[in-house]
Assembly symmetry: C2
DNA sequence: TAACTAGTTTATAATCATTCTAAACTACTT
DNA sequence: AAGTAGTTTAGAATGATTATAAACTAGTTA
């Protein structure tokens, strides 16, 4: 067992899931990366089918990803169109979003600062603030 | 013909649509307001069925709203879930979003300021920046 | 080992928002 | 009146997501 496989197994157990080969394959795609990974369920399915020759079912992909989201290992992002993206960067952070390519890119927290913060409606409090910078070809 | 009806007709004509009674009914719901209106297509359908007793077809609602969006009389907003919202405030602006009630509230431009703006990826330029402040019950 | 149990995978069906289609309808022009 | 272009509508199609239920797997107990 590789070192990272042990980490995957821990993530799965923490998420209330048994470490099966399908789920570990999903972990390999999602978490064996240096940089933030933004993906749709469809992206995930295609990568798995390309890398390994086996297929996993759509239901397993959805269930596993949602379990990770619930546990906080993934974040769901809804921007600019009708499908959900998931994000391996689970901290509150800002994005560049290219409407043409539908690509999301993380922005380093230090690179942005919100100066004035508005007063929320009565009886409400602000729990998060995220900026989307729409970008396009120069 | 009322004064605002003349404005609706102009908006429709500008959007390349003939002013029919169904479309004018849609305009009455959308544009006869002081404050910004955020709505889903389903909201629009329900309001029309409640106010007038007649029904208009889903297709007409979608088509008309999309024509207004294309012309710039409405803005489409995708936040936090699987359905589209439309916004009668077509300027670039920030929102409060209550995840429990699914409600959007506009933020006055003067109440927010972004201090540091990040450098976009190579060959790309920033065309818009919008902040979503997630809020919840205090 | 055999039986038992809880959890898992999968194909497929169901759901729901959105878009498409084609037929009936309307308004405007000749 | 006939012709035409545009419109409305019900219902079908699409596509992402969720639910279902039967077959499969792994871990536990006898
Ligand atoms: Mn989801
Ligand atoms: Mn749309
Ligand atoms: Zn991100
Ligand atoms: Zn708004």
């Amino acid at each position: 067992m590789t070192n990272s496989e042990a980490i995957y197994i821990e993530k799965l157990r923490n998420s209330g899931l048994r470490p099966t080969k399908q789920r570990i394959r999903i972990c390999e795609v999602l978490f064996n990366r240096e940089k933030t990974f933004h993906f749709s369920i469809n992206d995930l399915m295609k990568i798995i089918q390309t890398k390994t020759n086996e297929k996993i079912s759509l239901a397993t992909a959805y269930n596993t990803v949602h379990a990770f989201k619930k546990k906080g290992y993934l974040k769901e992002i809804n921007i600019g169109n009708e499908i959900s993206y998931f994000d391996t960067n689970t901290q509150s952070h800002h994005h560049f979003y290219d409407n043409q390519t539908k690509e999301l890119v993380d922005i380093n927290s230090g690179d942005v600062e919100i100066k004035k913060i508005p007063t929320p409606p009565n009886g409400k409090k602000i729990i998060d603030a995220e900026i989307t910078f729409k970008i396009s070809k120069e």
